[in-house]
């Protein structure tokens, strides 16, 4: 396990990798399900997942509404 921060090149490669493997590629049949922290999520698209994270940040910020 490495504790050092990722270089910009490594960050880019990881982002490109995650974007492709989780958000692209063919689907054999039905829904794609991924499990995060033991919770199964019917997969709807990485951008939606990222939007959810962004929404969560917005809610946690001071004056964020919740």
């Amino acid at each position: 396990m490495h504790d050092r921060p990722l270089t910009p090149e490594e960050e880019l490669s990881l982002a490109e990798l995650v974007n492709r493997v989780l958000d692209k590629g063919a689907v054999i049949s039905g829904d794609v399900v991924i499990s995060v922290a033991g919770v199964d999520l019917v997969y709807l698209g990485l951008r939606l997942l990222l939007s959810s994270v962004e929404s969560m940040r917005g809610r946690l910020e001071p004056g964020g509404g919740i």
Binding site: L12, R20, V21, G25, I34, Y43, S51, E54, R59, G65
Partner: protein, 229 residues
């Protein structure tokens, strides 16, 4: 128990000896008649960790040769057993054969154009919510600004995508693009013949030289993740 499936391959095209998949499990071949698939057995559905995502991609890449480019399958496809997975793949064999024929001899590259200097306003990707002390007018103004920022970013992305297409369309077989987030202007995926890799890389170098005020980053070769639909 169940199986995690990585990719669809031509009939009889098994993984190289010793290929290991997620969690170090052996990758095996599933014979679906006119096509096949690569998969590994697991006690439970693999979690989408950075490591398992990397390994999933590496397994698909292990199947890329001069003559064969597997159809990459999105992470997370899980079946109760190998027979079920093979039956599902075999039920759509014509689709897979068509994709395999189109991908043979081709690889994917990614180009990401990024603002090299100051990052643009990030309000385009933030959710604007009315706080308890926020007036309705301020809220509507924030919404309007967000919409305007998003439109600006979309125009920037379209211009960047057109610029790249103008320099690469003669080399690539197919392309996809989407507007970037944060400091990224646009992300473009290209399907490139292996034989044209040198010319393609030269074209990317030309893009960099032409617009030093932005960063033009190239990744790949990848399996053709962006071109299965």
């Amino acid at each position: 128990m169940g199986v995690h499936v990585y990719c669809v391959v031509p009939a009889g095209f098994g993984p190289p000896d010793g290929t290991r998949g997620i969690e170090g499990e052996a990758v095996g071949f599933g014979d679906a008649g006119m096509v096949g698939c690569w998969m590994s057995r697991h006690d439970s559905r693999p979690a989408p960790t950075a490591e398992s995502i990397r390994v999933h991609n590496d397994v698909v890449k292990a199947g890329m040769t001069d003559d064969v480019t597997p159809v990459p399958l999105r992470f997370g496809q899980w079946f109760a057993d190998a027979d079920t997975a093979v039956a599902e793949v075999g039920s759509d064999a014509e689709r897979w054969r068509s994709l395999l024929a189109g991908f043979a001899g081709f690889v994917e590259y990614g180009i990401r154009v990024r603002y090299a200097m100051a990052a643009p306003a990030v309000s385009a990707v933030r959710v604007v919510r009315p706080g308890p002390l926020t007036s309705g007018t301020a809220y509507m103004a924030a919404l309007a600004k967000r919409e305007a920022d998003a439109a600006d970013r979309r125009r920037d992305a379209e211009r960047a995508a057109a610029w790249i297409a103008g320099r690469t369309s003669a080399i690539v077989r197919d392309s996809r693009w989407e507007a970037g987030r944060g400091v990224d202007v646009v992300a473009v995926a290209h399907l490139v013949a292996r034989a044209d890799t040198g010319a393609y890389r030269s074209a990317v170098e030309s893009l960099r030289a032409e617009r030093p005020e932005v960063s033009v980053m190239l990744t790949g070769p990848w399996p053709p993740w962006s071109f299965v639909a």
